[in-house]
């Protein structure tokens, strides 16, 4: 690589006056590609591949097919009406005997339990019982129904049939508060189980309110940084950057100490006689907004500031000399020019805000948890990777749509703060 780079570059360098030939341009392009390749490869392996894997997890359904391959194949050939043929019962019995005591049977039980409560116990009971039956007297259908009457119910088999294919819409449907019923049509989940759409709505709402608050507070601050006297502005800049560079957990713990019931602010307010009883300022939505705005404000201020720095004051002078009131000049001349910075700031603030996990879990209440909380909860606590991935995929889709739209409007470089 070094050798090739060396030839190309020397050619380029020595022939600087002549227009570069086509092949030397191709070689130069090759060098660029080789420079960027290591990071692209690294990013692909450690970032893109895991995200792709996550999308696969959201629809992957290998548990039942892996542990009970015979009956899974039978389910594919069955119409799904009434009860399956004797061969399906026999295949189930064979599969259960073969898989007995293996971890993959546990995985299949867990998967089936998502479809129908009680399936785990049913499989465990049946797997124990079939081991003592070598030759069924009246056929496996009768034997299994004898072990547990649920094997004679259509719903039990419908659940098994839904869980058998290699791919499933189950997790994505669940993440959207939908269910597939025994006949295969899609319905809304029972009211008490509808939580994820609400959570996603809450996540987007918290992101929106935080972004709006940051814009309302951040825009005048950014304007102050370019318009107020230098000394004051640089003190203000330090006040913006110090929290920005301070550890997130330092800031979060500081807010808890300041806002909690026996905390600094309540102590002050009580001693001054402003309130009689301490206020509930944290571990609720209010505390969450305060902490999130504090953390995200610089992400709004800095892009707006970088645009405002590039706006020449002569535009405003021109509008004033043409007779515009300062307020009109501000609205019609200055404000439109700041919009790319406002767009980049709002996008970053919103995107970071809707992905927040640590801050809500520390300063929010039980009713302020966002989609991230469930993504982490299902990945870690209940080991339901499918649902965790489906929730992640939906949140990711929302964010990517926004990223692509805003990126197209104002350019990716502007979002990254390079232009």
């Amino acid at each position: 690589m070094t050798r090739m780079a060396s030839t190309t570059e020397t050619l380029d360098g020595t022939s600087a006056l002549a227009p570069p030939s086509l092949s030397s341009r191709a070689k130069a392009r090759m060098v660029s590609a080789l420079l960027i390749a290591p990071l692209v490869l690294f990013l692909t392996l450690v970032f893109v591949l895991p995200l792709g894997g996550m999308l696969v997890h959201a629809v992957e359904n290998g548990e039942v097919g892996g542990a009970l391959p015979g009956v899974a194949a039978e389910m594919r050939g069955w119409t799904g009406e009434g009860l399956p043929p004797e061969s399906a019962y026999a295949a189930l019995a064979r599969d259960l005997k073969a898989a007995h005591g293996e971890p993959r049977l546990g995985e299949a039980s867990r998967r089936l339990n998502y479809e129908r409560a009680g399936y785990r116990a049913l499989l465990a009971k049946t797997a124990r019982a079939v081991r003592s039956i070598d030759r069924p007297q009246a056929g496996w259908a009768a034997e299994l129904t004898g072990i547990d009457a649920r094997w004679g119910e259509a719903a039990t088999w419908a659940a098994l049939r839904r869980a058998s294919p290699p791919l499933t819409p189950y997790y994505l449907l669940t993440a959207l508060d939908l269910r597939m019923d025994d006949s295969g049509s899609i319905l809304r989940a029972p009211a008490e189980e509808r939580i994820y759409i609400d959570t996603l709505g809450r996540t987007l709402w918290i992101g929106f309110v935080t972004t709006l608050l940051c814009l309302v507070l951040g825009f005048p601050l950014a304007h102050a940084l370019v318009s107020l006297p230098r000394g004051f502005a640089s003190v203000l800049m330090v006040c913006v950057l110090l929290p920005f560079w301070t550890s997130l957990l330092v800031r979060t713990s500081a807010w808890i100490v300041v806002l909690q019931k026996e905390g600094v602010l309540n102590g002050l307010l009580t001693r001054l006689g402003i309130v009689d009883a301490p206020l509930e300022l944290v571990f609720n939505r209010f505390g969450l907004y305060v902490a999130m705005v504090h953390i995200l404000l610089p992400f709004m201020i800095l892009p707006i500031l970088s645009v405002m720095k590039g706006i020449s004051p002569s535009y405003m002078r021109a509008s004033a000399s043409l007779g515009a009131h300062p307020a009109v000049g501000f609205l019609k001349v200055y404000l439109p020019m700041t919009l790319p910075g406002v767009g980049a700031g709002c996008l970053m603030t919103f995107i970071i805000g809707v992905g927040y996990y640590i801050t809500p879990s520390l300063v929010g209440g039980a009713r302020d948890q966002m989609t991230s909380y469930f993504i982490a909860y299902y990945a870690n606590t209940t080991i339901n990777w499918g649902l965790s991935s489906a929730l992640g995929a939906i949140l990711l889709l929302c964010i990517m749509l926004l990223y692509a739209t805003v990126g197209r409007l104002i350019g990716v470089g502007r979002i990254a703060g390079i232009q």
């Binding site: 895991p50 601050l221 991935s389 990716v412």
Partner: protein, 271 residues
């Protein structure tokens, strides 16, 4: 710079800025004195001064020093990897001859835009299958990929002001590209490379979510130790650690200003 502005508006603007300064740094400064308290409660007035919480945090037998050590190991590894790969990529991007440059830039900064909880969980699923969870290598790889965009952005910004005729001059004097890179290009873009690396280090040093998923008990980092401490019960030792970190932040900001990017943007600190 003096735009015509009616003076009541100007007064309001000043008042607003002062209120915002209190909001921005007030909470961080307000907790510092409590870390020197002789009592265990987290409010004023402080009954007496004591360094007991600092003793506790800096005790050799405590959990904080191993956590600091882990954070330094992971941060240094992630910084090194992100800086080398990110600088190379920025050099490639700056040559402006690749097709789909805007797509490539979008891809390279994507880790900044995807919420860390999503990339963290996704990496956890993959790493669990190949045995990289609960390992330093896994944590370093994850932090490096998430920190690399900061290096790409910072170095790209530096390269925009870089005069390429200097490199041509070096070539015309007979320098090989590698020699020209190390003697001409690198010294000139070094401040950008160093601040990019610093950003990557700080990102790793402050990162909790990936550390929660991918780090095992052996790789418990400082932010993770703080996270657990805050979640259980906050005592003044958390505030002592906070104060030390704020001190480190101030030193870091001075360092960054020296590198010539005092107002530099710190892209995406997701939590």
């Amino acid at each position: 710079m003096s735009r015509p502005m009616p003076s009541p508006t100007r007064v309001l603007h000043y008042a607003f800025c002062c209120a915002m300064m209190v909001f921005l740094v007030g909470p961080i400064l307000a907790v510092i004195p409590i870390s020197f308290s002789s009592a265990g409660f987290l409010s004023y007035p402080i009954p007496g001064l004591s360094l007991q919480w600092y003793d506790k945090v800096l005790a050799a037998s405590g959990p904080w020093l191993p956590a600091l050590r882990n954070s330094l190991i992971v941060g240094t590894g992630a910084m090194a990897l992100a800086t080398v790969l990110g600088t190379l990529a920025a050099l490639g991007l700056a040559r402006n001859d690749l097709p789909g440059r805007s797509f490539l830039l979008g891809l390279l900064i994507a880790p900044m835009v995807v919420p860390v909880v999503i990339s963290g969980v996704a990496m956890y699923f993959l790493f669990a299958r190949i045995g990289l969870t609960a390992s330093y290598a896994g944590l370093i790889l994850a932090h490096a990929v998430l920190g690399a965009p900061f290096v790409v952005i910072t170095v790209t910004a530096t390269l925009r002001n870089f005069d390429t005729t200097l490199v041509r001059a070096a070539y015309s004097l007979g320098a090989s590209p590698v020699h020209a890179f190390f003697t001409v290009t690198l010294p000139l873009i070094l401040p950008g490379v160093l601040s990019g690396g610093l950003f990557a280090f700080i990102f790793s040093f402050d990162e909790v979510v990936v550390a929660l998923f991918i780090g095992g008990p052996e790789q418990r980092t400082l932010p993770r130790q703080m996270f657990d401490g805050i979640r259980d019960t906050i005592d003044p030792s958390i505030l002592a650690m906070s104060t030390l970190l704020v001190g480190a932040t101030v030193i870091f900001m001075v360092l960054l200003t020296r590198l010539g990017r005092g107002t530099g943007s710190k892209p995406g600190s997701n939590a």
